[in-house]
């Protein structure tokens, strides 16, 4: 909202799920008196502010906010004073004097249905001796509304032409109901392509505007002429109409009001452009009847119930069980895939991989810890002709249960995965292409690794020649030699690993992508603890209280366990009798 003393024209966006027929707006219009001299708006503004701040009505000659007694007086003398107050509901047609005359003339058979409706309304008004006031409205179907120029022309250039987009969007506005495209049910499942388009289809599918309706609340600021005289003298006067308020209602529950309600702020000013520059001020108030308290309470309860029911339904589907490892055990899941191999000497390569469990790591007996990929050959496209794609997924689940001695003293040694790349060509020649390994990281997360490979070479050139002609190359007897050989680890007297004299050749590289996930009950407990205690409250009284809480909880748990044990014991005693 703009500041209280800001009289600029602003607009406000409201949302309402209620039906728009319930919307009512009250407009209060009044002419400022004492304007023999052209008043300065600034002075008026200051006077307004002062009067509002002082909150006393006695000083000034005008009363921007009419009290109830004044309203009664005003109603009684409405035709002579310049105060007017109207409550307008949505798309309610109020006639201006010009329209009163224009539609009041019977067109006969050539009138449109709209004109006929208006004519009937005007006849009813004449029967009740009602005269049109200054405030009138233009509603959606009115042909005369000159403010509609704003729909098409934005600048003051006389040569401005509205674009096709503007024409298209504006013609959407004129229609009342266009089904919104966001509804999935309207889309056909078959025949997605429409061959013959109608303009309706174009409007629905090509223009993204929401259908909306507009209403203008206008004021006619011509001098009021005595009606009896007006019937004798019929000369066309240029209408001096000003927009008081423009209301747009969109189909997605949005109401835009320009300018905004100002029932508690400074009045809006209009100045007529005549020589006798008259100033009018007006207030816009929201006058819809609000929902009764009981209805509101009922509605809220209904919404709450619907939400609750949806929650329950989903929660039932989900359930509440989850596999958790036993209390002192850490579970490690490695979920990944061998993506590709690149830059190896020969084609038709496959990869053999094996997971090497370190000490204190256990696995279910039925798990496969090793595997072979398929034999792949390089891509056919010329860009990367040394890459072999595998997309071979693997998944391991391991448990770490250290002995109590180890748990306090040493860091868990993470398992490793060894890879052996070998080639097998169509002649049946089998060659090793490379060895590599990866340590499973001990920080959980997503890893995308490129592992470089090497292969043993041997001392003489004979091995290489044999490898080329008939296949069969040097292989490692113990695959754990790639990392730290088990023989080395098992003899604690060895302190230095020396690979001196072992000749290798670098070969290609592997791309492995995997995720590491840890799970343990102690993490769950940590999480529960941290959730209740904020980091800032770790000290002082709150920490003391939370400690007390946790102690009490532990006590409750122990008591429950003791009761269970006692029950079990009594049951077994009973059953043994």
């Amino acid at each position: 909202m703009s500041s209280l003393d800001d009289n600029d024209v602003n607009y406000a966006v409201y949302r309402s799920k209620d039906q728009i027929q319930n919307f009512k707006i009250r407009v209060k219009l009044e002419r400022l008196t004492s304007n023999a001299l052209i008043p300065s708006l600034a002075r008026l503004k200051i006077q307004e502010d002062l009067s509002r701040l002082l909150d006393s009505d006695g000083q000034k000659a005008k009363q921007p906010k009419a009290t109830t007694t004044d309203v009664l007086q005003a109603l009684n003398a409405q035709n002579t004073t310049d105060y007017e107050e109207v409550v307008i509901s949505w798309q309610q047609k109020l006639f201006s004097r010009f329209e009163f005359e224009a539609y009041g003339r019977d067109m006969g058979s050539s009138s449109t249905p709209l004109e006929k409706i208006y004519f009937d309304q005007i006849q009813k008004m004449k029967a009740k001796r009602q005269q049109p006031g200054r405030i009138f409205t233009y509603i959606e179907d009115d042909p005369y509304c000159m403010e509609r120029d704003l729909d098409y022309f934005m600048t003051d250039s006389p040569n401005e032409q509205p674009s096709n987009l503007a024409l298209g969007l504006n013609s959407i506005r004129k229609r009342r109901t266009i089904p919104s495209r966001s509804n999935n049910q309207n889309l056909p499942k078959a025949d997605l392509i429409k061959e013959n388009l109608t303009t309706d289809d174009l409007l629905i599918n090509h223009y993204g505007s929401l259908p909306h309706q507009t209403m203008y609340i206008m004021v006619d600021l011509n001098d009021p002429v005595n009606t009896s005289a007006a019937q004798l003298v019929t000369f066309a006067r240029p209408p001096n109409e000003h927009v008081l308020c423009r209301i747009h209602v969109y189909s997605n529950e949005i109401i835009i009001i320009t300018p905004d309600f100002n029932s508690d702020k400074v009045a809006y000013m209009i100045e007529t452009g005549h020589l006798s520059n008259e100033v009018y001020q007006y207030y816009l108030e929201h006058a819809s009847t609000s929902i009764s308290k009981t209805d509101l309470v009922k509605e809220r309860k209904l919404f709450n119930e619907i939400c609750l029911r949806q929650h329950e339904h989903l929660a039932q589907l989900i359930g509440s069980k989850f596999d958790v490892p036993p209390p002192t055990v850490l579970k490690l899941n490695i979920i990944g895939e061998i993506v590709s191999a690149r830059n190896f000497e020969y084609d038709h390569i496959y990869i053999y991989y094996v997971l090497d469990l370190a000490e204190d790591w256990y696995v279910e007996p039925s798990t496969l810890l090793s595997g072979y990929t398929h034999t792949g050959s390089t891509t056919m496209s010329s860009k990367h002709d040394d890459v072999v794609y595998y997309s071979h997924p693997f998944e391991f689940e391991l448990w770490y249960k250290p002995s109590t001695y180890e748990a306090d003293r040493s860091f868990p040694r993470m398992p490793k995965i060894y890879f052996q790349v070998a080639s097998l060509d169509s002649w049946g020649r089998h060659r090793t292409e490379g060895y590599t390994y990866i340590d499973i990281p001990n920080i959980p997360g997503f890893y995308d690794e490129h592992l470089s490979c090497w292969r043993p070479r041997g001392d003489s050139i004979f091995n290489e020649v044999r490898r080329f002609f008939i296949g069969g190359s040097l292989e490692l007897e113990d695959i754990s030699y790639i990392a730290i050989p088990t023989l080395f680890r098992s003899e604690p007297s060895n302190s230095l690993l020396s690979r001196f004299g072992f000749r290798t050749i670098s070969t290609g590289s592997l791309n492995i992508r995997f995720n590491v996930v840890f799970q343990s009950q102690s993490f769950a407990m940590e999480h529960k603890k941290t959730r209740r205690v904020h980091a800032a409250n770790r000290y002082g009284f709150d920490a003391f209280m939370s400690n007390v809480h946790s102690v009490l909880e532990e006590f409750e748990r122990a008591k429950r366990r003791a009761i269970e044990v006692r029950q079990n014991v009594t049951q077994t005693i009973k059953s043994s009798f």
Partner: protein, 175 residues
């Protein structure tokens, strides 16, 4: 139970010999998993780029899983098919890739391959298209029998996925 949301798209495929491609995708998971919302499988439209090297599908993926355990984390089974000018569909390649485990935004390239036949069959593929297909693609991704297969690498399928997880910390899982 914990929940996993996978929201993303199959962006497109590149690196294939011809460009008029579509992709059949399926999500496979272990027995501890259940799909609460979303389509578990689908097929993209055929995209035929005139001068770009990549076929763009932008196929949305919106899945909601509930799980009782970490085994059998869901993975994508992709099959890339080619539709030629005469309307014939031939299988280009298979691809398998795990849905990323850690929450966040991931851009993945799922590489694909196709089974390779004998020399005569390869020649036939060159001229009239259509390679041999796997008898049971579902078993292949996790089976120990892949070593019997000979393959040829094909292109890559690009995926962009956002992973949101819920309630895993309650059971002590760290990503």
């Amino acid at each position: 139970m914990a929940e996993v949301h996978v929201i993303g798209q199959i962006v497109g495929g590149s690196g294939f010999p011809e460009s008029s491609l579509f992709c059949k995708w399926k999500v496979q998971m272990g027995s501890a998993w259940r799909v609460l919302q979303g389509d578990q499988e689908g097929q993209t439209q055929v995209d035929d780029p005139s001068d770009e090297p990549m076929a763009n599908w932008c196929h949305p993926i919106d899945l909601h899983f509930a799980t009782k355990g970490l085994q059998g984390w869901p993975k994508f089974h992709l099959q890339v098919w080619h539709q030629d000018a005469y309307g014939r569909n031939e299988l280009y390649s298979y691809g398998f890739c795990h849905i990323p485990v850690s929450p966040g935004y991931h851009e993945l390239d799922c590489v694909t391959w196709r089974p390779k036949g004998t020399l005569i069959e390869e020649l036939k593929t060159q001229f009239i298209g259509g390679s041999s297909q796997l008898k049971n693609p579902d078993l292949v991704s996790s089976s120990a029998e892949l070593y019997k297969l000979r393959t040829v690498s094909m292109g890559k399928v690009h995926l962009r996925l956002h992973i949101i997880v819920r309630d895993f910390e309650k059971y002590g899982v760290e990503f």
